[in-house]
């Protein structure tokens, strides 16, 4: 324990060198904007800026990239709240309640909550990282395909088991998402699937962003245009304002969500350390659990502050968590850490179990810089809120074309293929029609994010077990996770039963 604190102090000495501190501040600011642009996201931001890093020593380089990663995690919430378009898969859950809050003229409250939640999540997870890195690395190591699948089931279950929406329509929406996620190369058999003859654009599969930007960006815009016309040209968005008094009031209200923040941070961190899971399942699960334990679950989806606090604390906690398998196992926990891993090779470092022993300066400098990055990111983020609110005040006729262009860029950026832009427009129209028919769209987005993670894990497990499903229940980690998932799935069926029994009793 004392040894860890000593190492952390030396780490702080590295992180607070003027040059490194500058890199943290610049990185956080750049990251904030990268994250706020739908489609750009931390993956592309870090990849684009990677070649710049040979100008500074390795420790400075990783601090810079980690700060961008962090800043982007804060920024991701901005487009979710303001435009209703998740800029990255990690921010999907933030749209569920962040967007309704913005529509009620409370965008400032949603953004402040997102910033504070990110800060709490980030800080709690860095503390956990500082003290429990090596033992948790072991858990990440033994986590195999059956455990991964069980975790994905849990993510689905926490989300679906909540009920609320029309069950049949929810299942329908999930199935559409799963079918879309199956397009492209099948990693087990190596054969292309659902490529419509031989359209090469389908070979790389359908990126989650193409669907998300399509239905939330384009679809939402079509929806708004219709409402706008009905309202006789009046904008549907009520205006938010920012004053010091309001901000203090917001902060007070946010402190009341402390339970959710604590839950989201811990859950996010533990899901984040599992290789290949990343921050997306973590944030979705946190949202589901927050709704489950809330006293007012009916408020979720209509602008509950807890619904913003949970996913935002979880996705930041998970992004710290995903650094753990990267540093200790050389396995990226998320697409962005995969790029960071490439960076470490360029800087001549070998990620793996020896890194904590051989390169203490590097590791502890990075950990210490995460503390600093959190602090600066929250300050920068809150400072920019008035600017962001001002953008919302633009007339719809100006805002709409801007959003449309952002959507097109966002659809093109991840794969750099025009095919995906057309696909996105198509999804936009279909999404609009589905919405008119009152189908929930979030489950489809959830399925396209989790599908590609769950499917290979399921098939690898069944290959290992020779087709027997008991592999998910007999292993020490996957068993309990799977049972919990099944209980959660059955909850909507059990709840009324319990209630009836109680009445009788």
């Amino acid at each position: 324990m004392v040894e860890i604190l000593e190492l952390l102090v030396t780490g702080f000495a590295v992180a607070f060198q003027p040059q490194n501190l500058m890199l943290v501040i610049v990185g956080c600011t750049v990251g904030l904007f990268i994250g706020a642009m739908p489609g750009l996201g931390s993956v592309n931001g870090v990849a684009i800026l990677l070649p710049l890093t040979f100008l500074v020593p390795p420790t400075g380089a990783v601090i810079f990239l980690a700060a961008i990663y962090y800043g982007a995690m804060y920024g991701g919430a901005i487009s979710s709240v303001m435009l209703g378009i998740p800029g990255a898969s990690t921010a999907v859950a933030t749209t569920f309640d962040g967007r309704p809050l913005a529509k009620q003229g409370l965008a400032d409250k949603a953004l402040t909550a997102a910033a504070v939640a990110s800060f709490v999540g980030g800080t709690i997870s860095v503390v956990l990282f500082t003290f429990f890195a090596p033992p948790l690395a072991h858990v990440a190591l033994v986590f195999g395909a059956p455990e991964e699948f069980a975790l994905m089931m849990l993510a689905f279950a926490t989300f679906i088991g909540l009920g609320g929406d029309d069950l049949y329509k929810t299942v329908f929406s999930i199935c559409i998402g799963l079918v879309l996620s199956a397009v492209g190369l099948d990693i087990i058999s190596g054969e292309p699937r659902l490529i419509f003859g031989n359209i090469t654009g389908f070979l790389h599969g359908i990126n989650f962003l193409v669907l998300a930007i399509g239905i939330y960006g384009i679809g939402e815009m079509l929806w708004t245009i219709e409402e706008h016309r009905k309202a006789g040209g009046q904008s549907m968005m009520s205006k938010a304002t920012v004053t010091v008094k309001r901000t203090i009031g917001n902060l007070k209200e946010i402190t009341r969500t402390w339970k959710t923040l604590l839950m989201g941070s811990t859950l996010g961190y533990f899901v984040g350390i599992l290789p290949a899971a990343g921050a997306t399942p973590g944030s979705l699960m946190a949202y589901g659990v927050a709704k489950q334990i809330s006293k007012n679950p009916e408020k979720f989806g209509k602008g509950a502050l807890d619904g913003v606090a949970a996913p935002e604390s979880a996705n930041n906690a998970a992004s710290t968590g995903s650094m753990l398998p990267m540093l200790t196992l050389g396995i990226p926990g998320s697409p962005t850490t995969a790029i960071l891993l490439g960076g470490m090779v360029i800087w001549g470092l070998e990620p793996g179990p020896r890194l904590f022993v051989d390169h203490q300066d590097f590791v502890w400098g990075l950990i210490a810089s995460l503390y600093a990055a959190n602090l600066f990111a929250v300050i920068i983020n809150i400072a920019f809120i008035p600017l962001i609110i001002w953008v919302l005040k633009l007339p719809f006729t100006i805002l709409a074309p801007l959003i449309f262009v952002l959507c097109l860029i966002g659809g093109y950026a991840p794969t750099q293929d025009l095919h995906d832009v057309w696909l996105m427009l198509l999804f936009g129209i279909v999404g609009y029609l589905m919405r008119k028919l009152d189908y929930p769209l979030a489950p489809a987005v959830l399925a396209i994010v989790l599908g590609p993670l769950a499917e290979p894990a399921l098939r690898q497990s069944l290959l290992i077990s020779g087709g027997k499903f008991d592999i998910f229940f007999t292993r020490p980690y996957s068993g309990p996770i799977m049972v919990t998932a099944i209980i959660l799935l059955l909850l909507p069926a059990i709840k009324p039963l319990v209630r009836r029994l109680r009445k009788r009793g």
């Binding site: 090469t200 790389h204 790029i339 960076g343 360029i346 179990p353 020896r354």
Partner: protein
């Protein structure tokens, strides 16, 4: 006659590039081409994979030493085990600003999917930067397995319960697993994962019994004492693993490498080809790349021009035979 002249010219170019390097001059009289817009560097894999890391490594060497007047921008085309990237490059006929970094799926994917209409003999050879090596690995806790004989005994006892983890179906790892199965009469089960790093981790976490990873993929776990190599698929012992025998020593003639090669669009101009050959020869000879080759136990000399094309044609036939043998394609 024309072909011969072209051949001589390319050889001359390669020689010229080599001389220029030894003489330390920046460019040759033959390399008149200068890129006018950013060079698109296609990666046959997703962001963060082995190929992606290498491309970004090249990018940093080129930028650091100011080797090109324009930026090099990596662009990922991971779909269909290289199919997406191959089709993309094939569609860039005559383009002087698009190059690609390729592996052995360069041979196997067009063979398995003739519908793609890709003939690798039409691509422009630029430079083979290395050949990656393969070893057979098991977990260090398997005290009962210290050589290939022990391995065969243990794998036989477990039958199809023995899990061999690898990257993708009909991939390099799959070919080697099939070889081991037929050479030693084993029935190991091949389970494909996404990415060599993931495969290495599955072995270290004991979710798989063995792997045929590249040294670069297993290095972290090997150095930490989690995994150990049993034998190498190389002609000679590797300098980094002096105590590990080769399969050839053990009486099995199995030598297998994975190319790590830069290839240009089909019909690229000769001047541009000469330019990129020169550029990547410089990258190959940079201290950073040489150190990387040594650290990650990579083999293979620099190969350019017609020699590289001949190598491709030879390797394609080798892979054709392998794929027929494993039943992935019909003869």
């Amino acid at each position: 006659m024309k072909a011969l002249r072209r051949k001589l010219l390319v050889h001359g170019l390669a020689l010229g590039a080599g001389l220029a390097l030894t003489a330390g001059t920046a460019s040759t009289a033959l390399a008149e081409f200068q890129p006018k817009k950013p060079i698109e560097f296609v990666v046959m894999a997703g962001k963060g994979g082995g190929a992606d890391k290498a491309v970004r490594f090249f990018q940093s060497i080129i930028a650091e030493n100011n080797l090109a007047p324009v930026p090099v921008t990596p662009i990922n085309k991971p779909g269909g085990t290289g199919a997406e990237a191959l089709v993309y490059l094939n569609g860039k006929k005559g383009d002087d600003h698009t190059i690609m970094f390729t592996l052995n799926s360069f041979y196997t994917t067009p063979l398995r999917q003739p519908a793609l209409g890709v003939d690798i003999a039409e691509f422009t050879p630029i430079a083979r930067m290395a050949e990656d090596t393969f070893l057979l690995w098991v977990h260090s806790d398997r005290k009962d397995i210290n050589n290939v004989d022990d391995f065969v005994k243990a794998a036989k006892a477990k039958g199809s319960g023995w899990i061999m983890a690898g990257t993708g179906k009909a991939s390099e790892d799959n070919l080697l697993t099939d070889f081991l199965n037929s050479a030693y009469g084993l029935n190991m089960k091949y389970v494909p994962y996404k990415g060599g790093g993931k495969v290495a981790k599955e072995l270290a976490g004991k979710n798989a019994d063995s792997t045929v990873n590249n040294p670069s993929e297993q290095l972290g776990f090997y150095q930490a004492g989690n995994t150990k190599p049993l034998a190498a698929f190389t002609p000679q012992r590797l300098p980094m693993f002096k105590d590990t025998p080769t399969f050839r020593e053990l009486g099995q003639d199995m030598v297998y490498f994975m190319q790590r090669t830069v290839v240009g669009a089909p019909g690229m101009s000769k001047e541009a080809q000469a330019y990129y050959t020169d550029l990547f020869s410089k990258v190959y000879n940079s201290d950073k790349w040489q150190k990387y080759l040594k650290d990650k136990s990579l083999q293979g000399d620099l190969l350019t021009g017609d020699a590289l094309m001949d190598y491709w044609k030879r390797e394609r036939e080798v892979h054709r035979k392998m794929l027929i043998k494993m039943g992935a394609i019909s003869g």
